[in-house]
Amino acid sequence: MTSANSAQTEGPSPYPSAASLEFQHVGKRYPGAVRAAIEDLSFEVPAGEICVLVGPSGCGKTTAMRLVNRMIDLTAGDILLDGVSVTRRKPAELRREIGYVIQQIGLFPHQTIAQNIATVPKLLGWDKQRTTARVQELLTLVSLDAEMGERYPGELSGGQRQRVGVARALAADPPLMLMDEPFGAIDPINRARLQDELLRLQAEIRKTIVFVTHDIDEAIKMGDRIAIMREGGHLAQYATPDVLLADPADEFVARFVGADRGLKRLTLSAIKDIQLLDGLTARVGEPAAEARERAARHGSDELVLIDGGEQPIGRLPVARLDGKPVAVEDAEPLAATARRQTSLHDALSLVVADGNRPLVVVDDDGRLAGLVDLKLISDALQTRR
């Protein structure tokens, strides 16, 4: 997947807007150490994808990430950025072309937010006008007010500071971003929000991103590909989240992704990915016999009552149909409705919570889209691959 982002066409970077990254038999052994920190690590990240390095602490995932921008120098093998070995570049120059985000963020407390974001453009010698314009663009991109640029990091909340960290890393439009547990120190609600924002941002900017985390759920949510690492820097499995969950390579991976990997797979797809049940509807005012006959044809003992605008009103048990035309009073209120973008995981949760009755799905305009039942969800797990 190569990006069509054109922001990189100006400027001195030799890379396109997103670069491929390749680990070739990479090793790192510290002098005097008995065991290598990383031994023979090979994998490839296509341009524009998010690759998550995940594993238990001490597995070498952060070390592997820091080898890319030469914060640590490798001792064996090679790392190619867009086909060029990183060892052939001067470390400082290389790093200016690679976005760098760490868990503690490391904003400069003595500089304003705008100055912080302008760090790499200044190092690259951009003129003032271009830098200022870029800072404003980035503040907007990460959903911060323009006036925030004049504040100091000490005045911001943790979530805001992490947004600034991401903006600062993106400042010179690098073809590769390294993110080391970027949301690890953020509370769960804000973490989910920042993850969503990064995914939304990524849909727009299409960078190659190496994302380090120890949280498998975060890895599944963020990664186009996941590299599961085990102690000693060994690669246990490198696959898309779906393959990883459906087909773990070994016992270690299976244990790491968790016994609930089936449920986790359901987070990967949404209601819009499956064929919904339809036809199980009744309209206000139609003859009871017609509704009763339709339910019988589908083998169901209830229908969804909709109004003239196709909006669902409630559940209509067939037993309540007593010969008179279908009326609003016959319906029971809906416990919940889902949208097409609701994940199958959440859909399953809603179905189970509502006594295994089919879940009503509505479109963005509130009109009935169809129904999801347990069988559809479990079928999705069998067929998708």
Binding site: A92, R96, Q104, I105, H110, E155
Partner: protein, 235 residues
């Protein structure tokens, strides 16, 4: 022979001076331009030269120690030793080497600033959070850029804190320099010690205190101007 006055002639002094009052404004006004003002200016110069030279030496040593940690211990040892030598003794020890000169006075004064300045500079530099340095390097700053753009600005509050203590210390100690060179506010204090008339000593002493307070205040202003980020509330 016994015809002349026994009491020495103090000239046409004011009644305050004639009565040997504790503090005589009239005397201060009368002697401002030819005694107190020159002494004050000399004192400021003595202090400024000592602090500037001391800062330059301490800065060089602190940068060296910041890069190579092992340097810190011997520097603290030597400057600490200098700091403990009684000032009067140090001035006298230096006289055989550099004579009764301003240089002698400055060497002694400088040596008292080193420990304070060095320790504060080093503390300021090593107090820079690791993640800030990691981010700076990770974004492609060279070691030199890291030092000048990140570490030194962040160390500034600690550096100025050291500068304040050193300056106030030197202003006070510079009065003792009168034992080697007849300059500064120590001169009127010393001459007043040998008479019963106290105004000269009180005036010079008060000027010394005022100078110390003023210098401290100016340094606080300087620090606030140079590190506006220190005033924002920590979130």
């Amino acid at each position: 022979m016994a015809s002349g006055p026994v009491i020495p002639d103090f000239g046409r002094g004011s009644s305050c001076v004639r009565d040997n009052g504790l503090f005589c404004w009239g005397w201060v006004k009368q002697n401002w331009s030819d005694t107190l003002q020159p002494a004050l200016l000399q004192h400021i110069l003595l202090t400024a030269v000592a602090v500037v030279i001391g800062t330059a030496i301490a800065f060089t040593l602190a940068l060296a120690a910041h890069r190579r940690g092992w340097i810190a211990t011997p520097v603290v040892l030597v400057t600490g030793l200098l700091y403990t030598i009684p000032s009067l003794a140090l001035f006298q020890l230096l006289v055989p080497l550099t004579g009764l000169t301003r240089t002698t006075a400055e060497i002694a004064l400088v040596s008292y600033t080193l420990l304070i300045l060095f320790r504060n500079m080093l503390a300021g530099l090593s107090g820079v959070p690791g993640e800030v340095k990691d981010a700076a390097r990770g974004m492609g700053m060279t070691e030199r850029q890291l030092l000048w753009k990140v570490e030194l600005p962040l160390a500034l509050p600690a550096v100025v804190a050291g500068l304040r203590i050193a300056t106030v210390t030197v202003i006070s100690l510079a009065t003792v320099a009168v034992f080697v060179v007849d300059e500064g506010l120590g001169a009127p204090i010393y001459s007043a010690l040998q008479q019963t008339f106290k105004t000269e000593m009180i005036a010079a002493g008060a000027l010394c205190v005022a100078l110390a307070l003023l210098a401290d205040f100016l340094l606080v202003l300087l620090q606030r101007a140079l590190s506006p980020w220190m005033r924002v509330a920590r979130a």
